[in-house]
């Protein structure tokens, strides 16, 4: 098995991870290694399109990283802990042992999926998932698409799909107009964000944007044919080719959990310096609470400085972080899920896609563990990453036990 040695190991090459890497590189001579599962840096928010990244901000950061001789290991998935100071990752060339002095977790977030009748039909996609597919080559030209769910991501995805020739029939946002307005009014505090929002809206001007609205059913014989949308008690049926559906984001905390970091309310618990409850293990970006790209960048800077013991300098960023944190809190409050979404699945609706476990089969259990043991919910290859966050919302179950490997890994890579 290949061995790599570094001072600061960073898991995740998205905004938070890259920012942390630069923060270390600019303020010390220590070796930095970024490990990421994608072929290129950028993470989810700056995912590259056919190998190219569009955002000027991201490009600048990646350029800097390249100039600073930061080591990068792409296409590598961290699946287990080797010992206190090393992790194991699977790459196309086999397993790698990565030894470090300090660890910064920047695992990012994934979309939240919620089950409703028909959500497993072909051509029902996650909103971010569809965007990623288009970026890697799927054509949506002249496809009629409904975008639904909740969160700012819906607007970004709709705008992107439209720019690729899709016909956006409508955007269905579950939160209320009132909450959105209140949030919108608060945007002036973050001028840059405000600017982005205006820009998005101008491109989507003619697109129907429904609030207080959600998809209650997807229909189709073999593929998706139509969706049923409810708004203020009124139903409408919309024929479409694709449904892009996402319910905001869920932090990726599996690695932190496996290492033994304390979790609070579903987020990795960190102090002001981004240090977790484990010494020398830091955490930045979405795993510490969904907060968006700017908060991720700031947290990355703080963690980088903390990891090299430049705590005074890190403190200078606290005010900025607090401001961004307030924005993140307002964002999460605005897009919090309405209770009606809990009653969408019927007896036959599949909740765990890996194991085909229906809502009816698990609704009477008392805990995720019971549903796991008796009905295999969450026992499939995604290890409950999708149904775990769904059942947390549906039944208030906690899924905070992880078993290595946190990603499926070839047996040969477990022994070599």
């Amino acid at each position: 098995m290949d061995k790599m040695q570094t001072d600061i190991l960073i898991i995740g090459g998205g905004a938070a991870g890259m920012s942390a890497a630069m923060s270390v590189a600019e303020n010390s001579n220590l070796r930095v290694l970024i490990v990421d599962d994608n072929p290129t840096l950028g993470g989810q928010i700056w995912r590259s399109e056919m190998g190219k990244i569009k955002s000027p901000e991201a490009k600048k950061l990646i350029e800097k990283i390249e100039q600073n001789e930061i080591e990068i290991l792409n296409k590598a998935q961290v699946f287990a802990q080797n010992d206190e100071k090393s992790l194991l990752a699977e790459t196309p060339n086999g397993a790698v042992q990565m030894h470090f002095e300090k660890l910064i977790l920047a695992n990012g977030a994934r979309e939240r999926f919620l089950p409703f009748p028909g959500w497993t039909l072909p051509n029902v996609f996650g909103a971010g998932g569809l965007q990623a597919l288009v970026k890697s080559g799927l054509s949506v030209e002249n496809k009629r698409i409904v975008v639904s769910g909740t969160g700012p991501l819906l607007l970004a995805v709709a705008e992107y799909l439209k720019s690729k020739g899709a016909i956006i029939l409508l955007i269905s946002e579950q939160t209320s107009r009132m909450k959105l307005l209140k949030f919108g009014l608060g945007l002036w505090r973050i001028p840059k964000k405000f600017f982005e929002a205006i820009k998005l809206q101008s491109k989507l001007q003619r697109t129907v944007y429904l609030t207080n609205s959600f998809v209650i059913k997807a229909e189709g014989k073999e593929n998706l044919e139509a969706v049923n949308i409810v708004q203020n008690g009124k139903n409408r049926r919309v024929e479409c080719d694709f449904l892009a559906c996402g319910f905001h984001l869920v932090p990726n905390i599996e690695l932190a959990l496996m290492l033994g970091c304390e979790i609070m309310d579903g987020n990795v618990l960190v102090d002001k310096f981004q240090e977790t409850t484990l010494e020398n293990v830091f955490c930045v970006g979405e795993p510490t609470g969904i907060g968006g790209v700017e908060l991720s960048l700031t947290e990355g800077k703080i963690a980088g400085l903390s990891a090299i013991d430049k705590k005074e300098k890190a403190k200078e960023l606290f005010t900025q972080k607090e401001k961004l944190q307030r924005f993140a809190n307002a964002l999460n409050e605005t897009f919090s899920l309405r209770d009606e979404l809990q009653s969408l699945p019927n007896e036959e609706t599949i909740v765990c896609r890996c194991e085909d476990v229906t809502f009816g089969k698990i609704k009477d259990f008392n805990s995720f563990r019971e549903a796991k043991l008796q009905a295999r919910c969450g026992m499939g290859s995604c290890q409950g990453k999708i149904c775990g966050s769904a059942t947390e919302f549906l039944f208030d179950w906690k899924n905070e036990s992880v078993r290595p490997p946190i990603f499926p890994v070839k047996l040969e890579n477990l022994v070599d």
């Binding site: 287990a80 080797n82 194991e355 008392n366 805990s367 563990r369 019971e370 043991l373 008796q374 009905a375 295999r376 026992m379 499939g380 290859s381 290890q383 078993r403 290595p404 490997p405 499926p408 890994v409 070839k410 047996l411 040969e412 477990l414 022994v415």
Partner: protein
């Protein structure tokens, strides 16, 4: 709770649940008391095999008797129990093991257990993913696999249909003359108490000789038809019965979910459930020696569990040597799934006071009091 039960069973693992099913059928008022969740202890961590063993007459009698009981019960088991008669192949790796195959066949044949010797060619036909140049093997066609968690639930459902009560999330902290005391102070009144708490039985009876024997298992993603029988290396018993050193043996199992379950390892004196990569690696390497194509399969989970082991590898089934109102059904090591039904049957016989179909004295807990038993 004011009512007095005839029997209180401690532990809703597969053993306690089988006892509840069987005793409630005889008309006893039964309560099952489980500290955590149903089948959440050793039952949930095991392989779910139903296998007839030949390592001793006593082990054979109980596993053989139990296997037949499973076969009968399978007719009414729901699909989610995933009962499947896939058979076991004891795989022989070299000429030395040839003699062992013959011995095994004779042993089973004399006791009316169907077997079939496989030569090199027929072994490869039966399991194309085994490596080349294996000498052959012995097929025991009536062995099976089961999803033991759903089977446990099925046993409990039957018990409850017969009027049994189930209490989960209630920990028994003391066994009394007239019942059991729960952690919250409540008293559950019962005339007879069955300690079926697996390794945890010891928490209620300090002098009971049970030790933890840690095991590791790995499960893969779905690979249809990768393996069709339960496969065990002939040297398995050496591993299963070595009483000191850590050991591994090749043992893979097809699941109805098309996943491949890979074992096995045995470790004494380890108390924590964290994964020991060194022994897990040894175990996987052993499996790769027999099935090199496993290399490219993806593992989705590795986990550990604890077998409740006794010094002579036989379970304790029957009345406690000193406490008249207490019975034991524990210490089944790695065979609890197989022997759950036989255990329930002979314990029921003892409580009713009738003879069992097999000689049940050999499982009597009174033996752990004896001197020759003192070694551990």
């Amino acid at each position: 709770m004011l009512m007095t039960f005839d029997i209180a069973i401690i532990g809703a693992g597969i053993i306690g649940s089988a006892c509840a099913m069987r005793l409630s059928k005889e008309g006893f008022k039964v309560v099952v008391i489980e500290a955590n969740e149903i089948a959440g202890g050793t039952t949930s961590t095991g392989m779910g095999h139903i296998v007839v063993m030949d390592d001793s007459e006593a082990q054979f009698a109980l596993t053989n008797y139990s296997q037949k009981l499973w076969e009968k019960l399978a007719e009414e088991m729901p699909r989610d129990c995933e009962y499947e008669t896939c058979g076991t192949i004891w795989v022989e790796a070299d000429d030395e093991e040839m003699a062992e195959v013959r011995r095994k066949k004779d042993f089973y044949e004399k006791r009316n257990v169907k077997t079939e010797i496989l030569d090199e060619k027929s072994l490869r036909e039966a399991e194309p993913n085994l490596r080349e140049n294996l000498i052959g093997g012995l097929l025991v066609p009536n062995d099976s696999v089961v999803y033991q968690l759903c089977a446990t639930q099925f046993f409990l459902d039957k018990a409850m249909q017969n009027g049994a009560k189930l209490l989960t999330g209630k920990r028994v902290v003391e066994i009394l003359e007239n019942g059991v005391r729960l952690e919250n102070g409540d008293l559950i009144k019962a005339n007879k108490i069955i300690n079926a708490a697996g390794f945890w039985s010891k928490d209620l009876m300090q002098d009971l000789r049970i030790v933890k024997r840690k095991g590791h298992l790995v499960i893969t993603e779905r690979y249809p038809n990768f393996v069709k029988h339960q496969l065990v290396e002939l040297g398995y018993l050496k591993s299963a019965h070595s009483n000191d050193a850590d050991s591994v043996a090749f043992n893979v199992q097809p699941r109805m979910t098309e996943q491949v379950l890979i074992g096995s390892s045995r470790q004494f004196g380890v108390d924590d459930k964290t994964i020991d990569y060194e022994i897990a690696k040894r175990m996987i390497k052993r499996a790769l020696e027999y099935m090199p194509k496993l290399r490219k399969l993806s593992a989705t989970r590795v986990w550990t569990g604890f077998r409740p082991a006794t010094p002579d590898n036989l379970p304790y089934i029957g009345q406690h040597p000193k406490l008249e109102n207490v019975y034991l059904a524990t210490g089944h090591e790695g065979l609890g799934i197989t022997t759950s039904l036989g255990t329930a049957e002979i314990l029921t016989d003892e409580i009713i006071g009738r003879d069992s179909e097999i000689d049940s004295k050999v499982y009597s807990p009174s033996r752990f009091e004896k001197k020759e038993f003192a070694r551990e």
